[in-house]
Assembly symmetry: C2
């Protein structure tokens, strides 16, 4: 009943653990146990837990990309609606987890940015990719006049993601998704859809 | 040259370390070394590192309260301006630290909420206190018609704090205070000061 363990199995096991408990509270031993692999397998693939964290970030970003791509590309919906729906999908996922875990990028950004420069850079790169995706849709929303034309779409996209991460963190402490619902209401029904003053 | 170490000395030393490195990455040994006290002193005051973290949260909240009280109470400034200034003071502090560390409440909220229920509750209590302070000022701002009258001040205060925490986290990953400046601009020059549609 031996099984050959792939790099992917270890990444998946570690991702779950680190998303639940954080980077520093997760030992390599517990990742090995969860993935049911010997120590050698881990160090065959990764030189350190830090290097391993880069692999789980890539995996997490790829998974979220897969999940959100159909919404981002759904041309039957107005662009601003697609942005809103993409956040609602992430919120639903968080609710399934009883308002725990949160977003790996936010968690590791908080815990590792000051200590591990290569992890910080990988997170920065991933967040910029997310910002680019949203800013393209926000530009389209501007062209359709559904949001103010004089706001920089990239600045707005970056702020949307940051405020979403903040609401996620608030919800994690509150153990309620209320701050996330308020984020959706305030941004999509109020802040972004306000009338322009100069028309 | 013996010196009597107070509970306060240990709390201050641990606060600095945990703010820099996080809860899990900070060992009791390193707190003792930083505070220059023997192990017994620590366990005289605190039964565990977890209990210790409650003391540093209280200390952090008290310190921030001291810092911000003069602004909150400055009746020469309009209430919305006082809210804005209070965030600007926190941002200036973050910039002095080269965009590292961030806010202890955000950091511990991220790292500990899922694992330590009493820490989560203490953070929730502190965040609610902050929300109350801001919502009183936002209510006054509504009475002065400087922000829309139909928004719930408490919901808005909670969202402001959450979005500030998110911008702080984004700035920590970017190692630039740009996301925080954008937060100030978007909330205080755009989102909150929009004209009401029904007047």
């Amino acid at each position: 009943m031996k099984r050959i363990h792939s790099k992917d199995d270890i990444v998946q096991a570690g991702l779950e653990l680190i998303l639940s408990k954080g980077f520093n509270a997760t030992g390599v031993e517990s990742i090995l146990k969860q993935a049911n692999v010997p120590k050698g397998s881990f160090y065959n693939f990764f030189s350190s837990k830090e290097e391993f964290s880069l692999a789980i970030i890539d995996r997490y970003v790829a998974d979220r990309g897969e999940e959100l791509r159909p919404i981002f590309n759904d041309e039957s919906l107005p662009p601003l609606e697609r942005v809103k729906k993409s956040f609602e999908i992430l919120i639903a996922k968080f609710e399934v987890n009883d308002c725990s875990k949160g977003c790996l990028m936010g968690n590791l950004g908080q815990e590792m940015s000051d200590q591990f420069e290569n992890v910080r850079q990988r997170l920065e790169h991933s967040l910029q990719g997310w910002t680019k995706l949203l800013s393209r849709l926000l530009l389209q929303a501007q062209q359709e006049r559904s949001i103010p034309a004089d706001l920089d779409p990239e600045m707005l996209a970056d702020n949307l993601i940051a405020s979403f991460q903040g609401a996620l963190l608030r919800a994690k402490v509150k153990k309620s998704s209320e701050p996330l619902k308020n984020f959706i209401y305030l941004y999509f029904d109020r802040f972004l859809t306000q009338r322009e003053e100069t028309e």
